[in-house]
Assembly symmetry: C2
Homo-oligomer: 363 residues x 2
């Protein structure tokens, strides 16, 4: 099988020279030759918990070190059917939480001996296209921080690739999920604002294809409806700072006046809205206008903002996603599991949360 087995008693130096000359990689055969054992013995030495004698182990390791041998994960995966790679599919416009989530996922998987293969999306709708790449790489599992259609879920099942959908809860969809309920968050926030007497509430929504922001909007709108209040004006944003300013401008032009409160689909938009209100319109926040966001990204608690917002327990969520996917991979999955987290309300100081004396709470 191997031509250079014709030289079984090569010295270490000769051997290294030969490898270099033939421009080969260092393989377990090379190590075996130098150590004077069989290739399978070498293989066993690199498999934790295999049965090898102390003596051979030592000789193999010495030879391996001398040759700079490292097992080839590609070859290994061919036979073990494990690549120890996990795909993370994420849209970079998602918003500021994206880096934090990604970093945490990377850490968590690292602890479990798996590495993250990154697939970034320009728009969430592109997910179908990148999945064709995902299959090729034979990843052990996928964390998708993007909306996954039912057809795509079916494809994951056909291919037997474990999937965890991150923070993109499609109600009623039978797929493993880790998420922070956006509907509930919107509902809660609208409730707090309504309770404080805000009547003219407007919403800056996120991108069209983003289910997180649209669920937040739905939750807020539903809560207002439940309370018998009028439906909010909704304008579209794109999760960025500029969208916050433009959103507020659009709202005012639609209403003809400044609203009581603006609910923004993300903190960055809330900050944009806030800055525009304060610095461009000269409004006093929260006296003349309440502004609130979602996510509790880092800048939201900077002294200049101290934003009223809802914190997603991103670290816990990432840990849960990693743990869940890891289990699916190791045990060959079982029931569909959904781990829902709740947002934590951060009071901040950009929204008035108590009723004004002069305002009657009865709608």
């Amino acid at each position: 099988m191997r031509k250079n087995q014709s030289a079984p008693a090569l010295s270490l130096a000769e051997h290294k020279a030969a490898i270099l000359r033939e421009n080969r990689r260092v393989t377990s055969y090379d190590v075996a030759l130098v150590a004077g054992v069989s290739q399978s013995a070498v293989s066993r030495c690199f498999k934790p918990g295999a049965s090898v004698s102390k003596a051979t182990y030592a000789r193999v390791m010495k030879a391996a070190a001398a040759l700079d041998y490292i097992p080839n994960a590609a070859a290994r995966s061919l036979i073990t059917r494990r690549t120890n790679m996990v795909a993370v599919v994420i849209s970079n416009t998602a918003n500021l939480c994206y880096p934090e989530a990604l970093s945490e996922l990377s850490q968590q998987f690292g602890r479990r001996g798996k590495r993250v293969l990154l697939f970034t999306l320009q728009r969430e709708g592109d997910i179908g296209a990148v999945l064709n790449d995902v299959w090729q790489y034979q990843v052990d599992g996928v964390v998708a921080a993007a909306a996954v259609t039912d057809e795509l879920v079916a494809e994951f099942e056909r291919r037997r690739v474990p999937l965890v959908v991150f923070n993109r809860c499609l109600r009623g969809q039978a797929v493993n999920t880790v998420a922070c309920d956006p509907y509930e968050a919107g509902h809660m926030l609208a409730g707090k604002l309504a309770l404080a007497g805000h009547r003219s509430v407007a919403i800056i929504d996120g991108p069209e294809d983003n289910i997180v922001s649209s669920e937040r909007r739905r939750g807020a709108a539903d809560k207002l409806a439940e309370l018998g209040l009028s439906q909010p004006v909704v304008v579209r944003g794109h999760f960025d700072y500029a969208s916050g300013a433009r959103g507020l401008r659009d709202i005012i032009s639609r209403l003809g006046h400044v609203p009581d409160a603006v609910i923004c689909g993300s903190d960055v938009m809330a900050i944009g809205c806030l800055d525009y209100a304060r610095h461009e319109l000269g409004l006093s926040v929260p006296a003349q206008l309440s502004v609130a966001g979602f996510d509790a990204v880092e800048p939201s608690n900077w002294l200049s903002y101290n934003l009223t917002t809802l914190r997603q327990p991103l670290q816990k969520m990432a840990a849960a996603a990693a743990e869940l996917l890891d289990r699916l991979i190791e045990t060959g999955e079982g029931e569909v599991e959904k781990r829902m987290f709740s947002s934590q309300f951060i009071e901040g100081s950009t929204a008035r949360l108590t009723a004004l004396p002069s305002v009657s709470l009865a709608a």
Copy 2:
């Protein structure tokens, strides 16, 4: 070689059932069997620019689609010696630029048919440890956004793995580099501040092991020395918001008074410093204190800050890094190349940049 070649005339449905039953993956052999061609023909159909007749191509593709066949990248890489994966090693504390750079790198490599395998570091010093993992995965190349010692550079050469060091320029080190000169940036910033008459200048440095911030500090300190000004007070920070506030506090306690200007090793620290000065100390910026940072991260140009800072052309840098690494991979490297970018000064409004009438410029 294959047992189930004993049934050469299987129908499609039978075939799919057999694969499922035997719990095998769909391979090019399966497609060949269904399409009625040889396995090599199938392989060629998936290699762009191979010589296949229209007719066989069509039959193969039809069979492949029917079987949900996707080539196995691990098996392919075994023989082509290409994984089409690139490792990106990055420390997550690096600062806010990290997500932007990572996202851009991912996009750039994606366009070149390569995917990013992510290796995150807790501290930059951990790079040696993760590299042992990197070798296993047989990545085609590495982008390291961390300081790489000479020994590690040597190991890259021994293993013939192309390396591009990103934004971590070790002077005189013979390694491919894409970076924005931090020394020059510090030098420039200190010059501008000195020109405006700032005399008591302090610096909030970055983490101990971060060469970017220390070079910025060196550049600034050297410039002050060149101008015959007294050396700056230097305190340590960790690139985070809290470090900015703590840094300013430390500076004031060391000096016994508020300095004329604070140069912060990163924008986030500058923002922390700024907020602390304005909101906690009640200082007027830039009238009583000038604050400047580096990087021009997104929040730096928010209306509440409008920070005086230096922009790194991160997108161009990421594009350059991807292009350089790609070339090293494709052509089997050549000369060591260093692509240095310059920072662009962003005037902002947090530093006074013109001399006060009452201050003499002669030191």
